[in-house]
Symmetry: C2
Subunit: 358 residues, 2 copies
């Protein structure tokens, strides 16, 4: 359906109370984009204005991060910083593949300022200080399985994901590659630099951003809380309290060591970790599922370690709360309004949802 038609249909629906979903107007009191962090490569030699295709004496800015932000009316004091996962960009948080409002807009409506970022070496922040071969790798079915939309070619019966072909196509077009090798230190440095500019904020991570998210919270005291959706790796433990790696058909998940001093920083801020549905309890040779069995098991150990050290970490396994069918992309699933409400309630419960001073 043309967006023009959708717009007209939405307008009409306001008066006819039709079943067409109507976008409630949003008042935005600030929006824009900016970048932060990164490094500068300087080539040896002298720049020649008459031969500027020669890089001698020129510079290159790379490994910075990018943010597009919006501030709603009557915003809460702490903005959200939304950090995508592997093979994704800020688009993860935008309009869902089946055309509903994305988490970005849902949280603006809940009065959060929202920063939707691209990490270094991804999306609009594509300048990388290291070279890379970028190849078209056919992984659509890996994603379908790994993201627990189903077991290709079958959707899970209860899945919170629209099963039309158009939706799947739109979802698969959100995939976008690294322009330089993924490096947890590079991405956490870049996001930390964004957060230096943003100030006190709540970090919201997804999947591969989970691990670097902990590193960013360790590096930057402006991170006042972390909400992590299905962290995929990088669970950090004090180096003398490392649990055993957890193995399965998707490989071995290793804990990551940090100093006791660094780990302690993660006990100073509230943290919540969400996992969705269809994660097996017992080992299975279905790679896409067993991957999450090991992650969820490690998450339990990690939350326990944080709390044992005096922190405030909560693990929410949604099916245990009676919320079924969520995929790896909880925040864009069919029930994402509910997911947004849960996040909001948690933030408020932790006393971090207060309004900004006027």
């Amino acid at each position: 359906m043309r967006l023009e038609t959708l717009f007209l249909a939405a307008t009409v629906s306001l008066s006819l109370a039709s079943s067409v979903w109507a976008f409630e107007p949003l008042t935005i009191i600030d929006q824009g984009s900016f970048s932060a962090g990164g490094t500068v490569i300087t080539e040896a030699g002298t720049f020649d204005n008459k031969a500027p295709l020669n890089s001698a004496g020129q510079t290159f800015h790379g490994d910075h991060a990018y943010s597009f932000y919006q501030v709603p009316e009557a915003p809460r004091e702490l903005p959200l910083v939304l950090w995508h996962g592997a093979f994704q960009s800020g688009k993860s948080w935008e309009t869902t593949a089946d055309g509903r409002e994305g988490f970005q807009t849902l949280m603006l409506r809940r009065h959060f300022a929202v920063h939707t970022i691209d990490q270094p070496r991804r999306g609009k922040a594509g300048n990388s200080t290291v070279a890379a071969e970028v190849k078209p790798t056919a992984y659509d079915q890996l994603f379908f399985d790994m993201f627990r939309i189903g077991q290709w070619p079958n959707y899970f019966d209860n899945v919170q994901f629209d099963t039309s072909e158009d939706t799947l196509i739109e979802f698969l077009r959100s995939v976008t590659p690294n322009t330089g090798a993924f490096d947890p230190e590079v991405v956490s440095d870049g996001v930390s630099a964004l957060i230096d500019k943003i100030g006190p904020s709540i970090l919201v991570t997804h999947s591969q951003a989970g691990g670097p998210g902990w590193l960013t919270a360790i590096k930057n005291a402006n991170v006042k809380a972390v909400i992590s959706y299905e962290p995929g790796s990088g669970y950090v433990f004090p180096e003398n309290e490392m649990p055993e790696p957890i193995s399965g058909s998707a490989g071995t998940l290793k804990p990551e060591p940090v100093s006791a001093e660094d780990f302690a920083k993660l006990t100073e801020i509230p943290i919540v970790v969400y996992y969705g549905d269809n994660i097996p309890e017992d080992p299975t040779d279905d790679f896409g599922l067993d991957n999450w069995r090991t992650r969820l098991a490690m998450a339990r150990l990690w939350v326990a370690a944080i709390n044992r050290h005096g922190g405030d970490a909560t693990l929410v396994h949604l099916p245990e709360q009676g919320i079924h069918g969520n995929t790896h992309f909880l925040f864009s699933d069919l029930n994402n309004q509910q997911i947004a409400d849960l996040a909001t309630a948690w933030i408020e419960e932790k006393g971090l949802g207060g309004m900004a001073a006027k």
Copy 2:
């Protein structure tokens, strides 16, 4: 300055009438993102759920385009589709490097719905069906010269670009690479697919997008007008009416042949081409400047050809209109409010600025 502080300062300024620039609230009646176009690669073989890192039997979606759109209150009927140039993404149109509202926001305030796109193989639309080596190439000083900010290391005396170091750093961080080789057919197909979804609209191109912009207008009757900011190449002429190439110290600019039938399509819609300042009239061995001497010269021949064939093309060389100092990035220059007003006035003059039906 932290954005939080900027926000508070902006709020304060409303009452204290301080010199801090305050963002006037924007009412957005729809926003989101989507992708369109592209192709699917299917690997031979059969997908194995138990070994999904093996691409056999899997698919890859690539070469699509991406759009982030916003619709303001009381929108005009025709949205704008903003198409970035080489080494850029939609960020070109966002907040300026010195922190002012970007063309995206300026045109929302002028009641245009705005689509800010990433072309295939760039930014958030990074999946490319062809492999590429992405290398950090030091070209910051090339860009400084080529974009006519100055002649490195000197800014032009009259330049419409803030000369602080922070601004230049922010500007250079907007650079982002191709993830696959630039291909005018691929990008114009992708943008045409976006425009199939968007419907009737006004295409706004910059630099390297100029040429593919003409191709998109030829392919898609939904393109009702084109505004082109300093097209860099791809000036299409009827294949039996090709002007001589124009040579200079920046190389030889060749016209591109199209069929008479295709060229005729460009005579059916109003077109305006803008060029800024500091473009030499006489050949010079300053590469960054002579590049534009040849482009402006070709633009004059092209506009004449369009009009000779019964079209409606206008060339606006801003210094001739008494507007001085504009760089290659007119729409983000210090006088971008004026640039936005000019575009709006032209659209209205062409009868394409009417409001959408309620």
